[in-house]
Amino acid sequence: MTPAIFLRIQGIAADLFEIPHEQVTPLSSPENIENWDSVQHLNLILALEQEFGILFSTEEIDEMKNLGAIKSLLERKLDHSA
């Protein structure tokens, strides 16, 4: 069984931003995570695309304000493609 979507996002964010898993929450965003700069934002998008085998549109990328928004977006996308 694949782990829940947020757990997978959490793992990726913890690695990329070099913070413990428990500090990664749906409210995590560039505002409250130090290492989340524009380069890491691109890396996050690329990591999610690779992990979930999808491609985000430019509009979708604009929606990615925090990890909670990313989770909802992924749920929608994966639901549609399922």
């Binding site: 990726i12 690695d15 990329l16 691109l42 890396n43 996050l44 990591a47 695309e49």
Partner: protein
Amino acid sequence: VVSSDLRKTIDGLIGTGAAEAASRSLTELWRREASPATAQFLITSYNTIREHLSLRSFRLAILRSFTVEPAVPLLRAAAFTAGIDLTVHVGDFNAYAQEILDADGRVFRFAPDVVILAVQTCDIAPDLWRGYADLTPQGSAAAATRVMTGFCDWVRAFRKRSQASLVLHTLEQPARSSMGVLDGQSSHGQSSAILQINHELRRLAEKHNGVYVLDYDALVARHGRVCWRDEGKWLTARMPIAAGHLIHLAQEWLRFLVPLSGKISKALVVDLDNTLWKGVIGEDGIAGIQIGPEYPGAAYQALQRAILDLYQRGIILAICSKNNQEDAMEALRNHPGMILRPNHFAAMRINWGDKAQNLREIAAGLNIGTDALAFLDDNPVEREQVRMALPEVNIIELPDDPLGFADTLRDQLAFERLTLSEEDRQRGSYYAAQDQRLELLEQVTSKEDFYRSLEQEAEISPVAPATLSRVAQLTRKTNQFNLTTQRYEEQQIAELAKLADWQVVSMRVRDRYGDNGLVGVAITHQAGTVCEIDTFLMSCRVIGRTVETAFLSCLVEQARERGARLVRGWFFPTNKNAPAKNFYSDHGFELVTQNEKGSLWELSMSAANVNCPDWVRLIVHGGVKK
């Protein structure tokens, strides 16, 4: 083990200070999931253990016309697993031309070992990309000329400013041609124009030392042009490569960094049963094993072909197999499906002994370190045992399906080479002759008799264009008989040889069994009456045959002719160069001083001399540069 468990294991190993074991597990993790997140995890982990590992430090500058930043952590992570601690400088966006031309700029101050010039067709030649349909044949030719003039100028300017290696990306073809299928009907079309530029890039690289071509177009084609490109990210973030393919660009870069940094395997040791052929020779017999053009024997023939390609590239081959020697030799000699034959192997250990011990003996017999060995065996248990006993050996992980064996071997970074000298081509036969020399040593009684019976000839010449590549290669690869372990790139050697007060000489050794090739290098610097030995090294092929004395006697004599009264040189100890430790004291040099880096030795030429052994015939070319 799922990856999250593996990560816990890694954290545990790092916590207890087991750096080598942690590094192996990190490599395993990377093999399973090479992703941006894993890359960051590897970099963070390696940063805490790097001091305890023998990693090669290497500096790379990437000059580019597009966003490469996301590929950099992938590259650094992959480099760590290949034993390279990479520091990366990324040039400003689309500023590659200014950066190359700016002699005092940040790129050159960064002092890179290698520079990659990653420029896209759509940036450097927009008219050959989207605008092609507007061009006349003359316009197309003019555009190609303009691009090549740019590259020629940059390479020339780069060489004036830096001795670093330079890797040029070729230009990619568009996934969809401007002219549709019409493009294929003309020999002057869009595709031809880009092909022509890529061909010219190769010719440009051939003309300059230390300039190499990375076939970016072939890389993109290998993975599929349509899938490779992500137009959305290109337009919004100037990052043209789809998420899943960035790793392939990083891997391609690493194929150049591994040979350039010298983290290579010199010899490949192979198993026999179910590796070179399907079946067990001792049970199935020569009629029962499968190796031939039909499936499943074809998978093993494909692997043998890949191994033979490595042999032609100068990789030494050896066998380590649990078998009765006669059974195995019968298959090697007589099976019609074999591509590899006994003469391709420089050493064979076919017995029932422990493989790790056999590998140690193979390395000792070839005069190379066990860390220069790669090991190919279908049996994961054997691989694990060797890994436990000899963690420095490069263990090749084979897939379960033999159809994947050949490609796995071809993808090994440690066998990549960027130049192929005549030496490399002949290496296999040199080692076959070495076996006969060792047999002779067993027959003769005294060492002196042995030296005499070898009928050795040492030919000493100043470095020349034809030997430049081999001389530089020896400085990078020689670890054992190497007094200072100074590493040089081809172009650095070329520069040194041009200077009036520097001397770069090479030694070729022949004997009754044949030519050993170019096996010695010495670099000296003369200031007034003092000649300092910067580099003195010899290939392991000729260690223990007194030719080093012959070589030194010639250096001393040439220094004398230039007016030297003192010859001095440092010995810098490493983990590997114990064979050279007593070189200066054995030849009458006096210890001058010693510090934490090494010891300085001196020969006063009025008080002592170095004589060439009378059993080595010395041939000296080129006279003395004054």
